[in-house]
Amino acid sequence: MKELKILAVVVFFTLLTYWGVEPYAHSVMHKHIESKGFQYDDLKPLAKKGDAARGAQTFMNAGCIGCHGLKSQGMPAPMDPNAAVASFGVNPPDLSNAGAVFDAKFLANLIANPEHALMVEHKFSKAGRSFPMTAFYGLGGDKDQEVADIVAYLQSIAPKAEEVTPKMAFETACGRCHAVHYDKWTQIGERPKFKHKIDELKFEEKVVDYQDKLTKYLGKLPPDLSMYIRSRGEHYLKTFMEDPQELLPGTAMPRVGVSKESAEKVIEYLADVGDSKRAERDSVGKIVMIYLFIFAFLAYLWKQSIWKELH
């Protein structure tokens, strides 16, 4: 069939061009990183088994609540976000969900040596600045055991993994630095509905004040993530979260230490915000395809009926 041969030539050159400008060109332009499964292999493994009851004591005695809130246990943060950002550069997180969102090994390393776990030494100790969170030096007993106890305590008070919604994972892991204005999220919380202009302006002032301080702390205001699912894609987001330095050496973004499941939830949240019609796209697509196959079949019959008289 001559027409099929011609079609094969057209398809071949089309695919060749496509391959060259898409998969090939992008493989040249972008470093490809494979996820290591959020194992954090460079960190010290958890050697001891923690005890949650003891951990509650250690947590209080270690002074964590001097900076961190624990809302679910009736302990609000000692400062509001604007006061906290003025003191520390960034608002210390509320730890109610920390045990569910962050990896246990990461949490233990973070408590013992925050700068190292967060991978921000290049911005602090190596740059002559001190990191706002002080390392936990132990209460005099076995430090590894004490750290393990604190982690066990945080896990015991955290919601169960299946209760953590994509939005909760995002707020805990990313929401103090990144806004998502397509979901009304600001660095100081959800933008409320306002009755009076003055309240709106007051809220706006707080947001801008927080952002200015955060910009000073990080060198640049972290981007709004509303469209990141389309501009970066799932794979980039996942590998970037796991190890920001690998894809963007020198970035001020810390390694946040989310567990694999939480990372997937964060990505799901970003997809819900930036690509909210993906399920509809898929289902409408199928219907359109069925319609077009019927259309093509009828068009073929019509063509045959007319051309049989012409040949």
């Binding site: 001559k2 027409e3 011609i6 079609l7 057209v10 050159f13 089309t14 060749l16 061009t17 496509y18 060259g20 400008v21 898409e22 090939y24 060109a25 040249v28 332009m29 397509y182 981007p223 509303s226 469209m227 389309r230 501009s231 970066r232 894609g233 930036g274 909210s276 019609k277 509809e280 796209r281 898929d282 409408v284 697509g285 359109v288 395809m289 077009l292 196959f293 259309f295 093509a296 068009a299 073929y300 019509w302 063509k303 009926s305 007319i306 051309w307 008289e309 012409l310 040949h311």
Partner: protein
């Protein structure tokens, strides 16, 4: 006052006033097309359908798009993509059609080159087609500015900079085009106007000219055979359809066109729903930021070959080479000195010229996207020279071509 009889049907009534029967006969039933054709002859109809998709989806997008540098990005990515019912569908159709229309234009062009459908009376078909290519390019570029993402902004910056014409440093001209020192509100407004009004108007007029240019020389066929259309039409009308070398535009040719269109639409909508990234660059989902240059700036795939003719040379020679690449296709009917109208594979050296040109343009396209470093720069430079040499050599290659 003209004399009108009472009409007995709506058709008759309309015919008395608009001569619709004559129109139908002249434009469809007795508009004769050669029978000896393949599916590549349906690309014109595929283009018409794709242009139709662009116009209709564009009208829907226009209902919600805001040509304002503070609102444009969100009006596209939030209002249209998320709030408006099926806004995402219109946007994906518009973006994918804008890319696919160029694929079909290139297939249509290379079909014309392969079968020699640009000479012996068909020069105006070719020239009006090239004018359409240039207008579609302007339409695509102006539309690319509208979402006001990072690629919109930086592509706007780079392309308008070309008008400083290298060492002539016509910076005043660049500012005049932008309406500002850098792309801003004035820039977005004028490209919006170009995209939704002036360019579509020009394109529609040129489509009319392109169709009109076909009437007298008629459509070419697979063998480049000169057909006596009147004689063949007589055979057809006498009922000798099998022997006649011509067919009616409607419904004979149309029925084949519609089958090809249906296959095309399956391909098109597959891309719209499941494979749209090639037409919607991820970088353009970052809002425009004049203080942050993306690490890689490249045009959409259909401009890459001419971009790569600009890029490997120093500034002024690069601009000259770029200008050359923009106008040279217009001259094809006059650079091809052979009187043969035949498929390239029967035309000796011209066959080699055709395939080398095709492969060379694909190489240029790929090299236009990858960063201009090391081996890629060399390949790009060689491919750019091959392109220029091919066109310079064309008159010499075709001058001594044997008559087919």
């Amino acid at each position: 006052m003209a004399h009108f009889e009472k009409a007995h049907s709506l058709e008759e009534w309309l015919d008395q006033r608009l001569a619709i029967k004559t129109l139908r006969r002249v434009l469809a039933e007795e508009y004769w097309i050669p029978k000896n054709i393949n599916f590549l002859w349906a690309m014109g109809m595929v283009l018409a359908v794709t242009f139709g998709i662009l116009v209709v989806s564009g009208i829907f997008l226009l209902c919600y798009y805001q040509p304002n540098i503070d609102l444009a990005f969100d009006s596209v990515n939030y209002t249209i993509m998320q709030e408006v019912e099926f806004g995402w569908l219109w946007r994906h159709m518009h973006a994918v059609a804008a890319s696919v229309v160029f694929l079909i234009i290139y297939i249509h062009m290379f079909t014309g080159i392969y079968y020699g459908s640009y000479k012996k009376g068909r020069e105006m078909i070719w020239i009006s087609g090239m004018l359409l290519f240039v207008s579609f390019s302007a339409e695509a570029f102006s539309g690319y500015m509208l979402p006001w993402g990072q690629m919109s902004y930086w592509a706007g910056m780079v392309i308008t900079n070309l008008f400083s014409l290298g060492s002539l440093e016509l910076n005043g001209l660049v500012e005049w085009l932008r309406g500002d020192y850098v792309p801003g509100q004035a820039f977005l407004n004028r490209f919006f106007m170009l995209h939704v009004f002036l360019m579509p108007l020009i394109i529609m007029a040129l489509i009319g000219l392109h169709f009109g240019a076909l009437r007298i020389p008629h459509v070419n066929n697979q063998d480049g055979e000169e057909i006596d259309f009147e004689e063949e039409a007589k055979k057809y009308l006498a009922g000798n359809k099998k022997e006649a070398k011509v067919i009616r535009f409607a419904n004979d040719f149309l029925s084949k066109d519609m089958f090809v269109v249906s296959i095309f639409l399956i391909f098109f909508f597959y891309l719209v729903f499941w494979h749209f990234d090639f037409a919607m660059d991820p970088i353009n989902f970052d809002p425009a930021d004049g203080l942050k240059t993306p690490p890689h700036i490249y045009p959409e795939w259909y401009f890459l070959w001419s971009y790569e003719i600009l890029r490997p040379f120093p500034k002024d020679p690069g601009l000259i080479a770029f200008g050359f690449s923009q106008v040279i296709f217009f001259l094809l009917p006059f650079l091809d000195r052979s009187p043969n109208v035949a498929p390239a594979n029967r035309r000796g050296l011209f066959a080699a010229w055709f395939w080398i040109l095709l492969v060379d343009m694909i190489v240029l396209t790929v090299m236009g996207k990858v960063p201009p470093m090391g081996m890629f720069s060399t390949i790009g430079l060689v491919a750019a020279w091959v392109f220029i040499i091919l066109w310079v050599a064309l008159p010499f290659i075709t001058k001594n071509e044997k008559a087919v």
